[in-house]
Symmetry: C2
Subunit: 150 residues, 2 copies
Amino acid sequence: MDDLKTDFYLSGYADGEGCFCVTFNKSNRHKFGWDIRPSFSVSQNKDRSQILGLYKERWNCGTIRPDRSDKTVKYEVRSIGDLVAKIIPHFENYPLLSEKQREFKIFKEICFLLLGKEHLTRNGFNQVRNLSEQMNASGKKRYPRNKIKI
Amino acid sequence: MDDLKTDFYLSGYADGEGCFCVTFNKSNRHKFGWDIRPSFSVSQNKDRSQILGLYKERWNCGTIRPDRSDKTVKYEVRSIGDLVAKIIPHFENYPLLSEKQREFKIFKEICFLLLGKEHLTRNGFNQVRNLSEQMNASGKKRYPRNKIKI
């Protein structure tokens, strides 16, 4: 399969199994007391995790490791540089076809705010928080965004 | 996105979310007392199930309906004619890249045995049963295949 075909394939796979995520963790070392981390990940059962290697190989970034929470293996990209330089352009070129595309667009907006260090201003921080509130609505958030006040 | 790209995308999505399945149900109306049904299905949460419409549209077969067991929606192809004429050729042309490809190959073999009515002979039936035993090893089977004796 040539690269172009692999790219469409990887988008299709990610549409089902991928996750754009922005977590907030309490931290004294970060401005306003919160460490904001964006990530893209794809999880898979251990017995058929070879597909995760395709992502790593194709994008030349990210890590593959067992997920502590269950019997899955996770491919994850957490570097903001890699997210903006590699992951976001991929999904711009080979777009998701489901409602997850909406998540991607918010994720992209957040990544650019973080890259531009906008979250170090009160306005920018609140913008990131409000945007992240619109993501993964059905997923459980450790810190509900409306409880994060600065 | 043109059709070719959609096809690779749909394979990628199916590699994560799709299922090749062969169920055995007790039946007095079927030879040897068992009704054997192959199916291909893709499930998705209700709130982002629009991708299932892509399969139906692209393959012009199958049904989309709520899954009684949970809050998902399922696209399913059960007709042996559609499976052999449409689904199997699709995955021949746009192959799965994970271990699920192994499942597909067994599934294909079973579908051709069923289409050729080989399961109506004792040998053919046992062949289908043995092949199906090698599928979805981690999934729960209502009737463990080694308990099905004819």
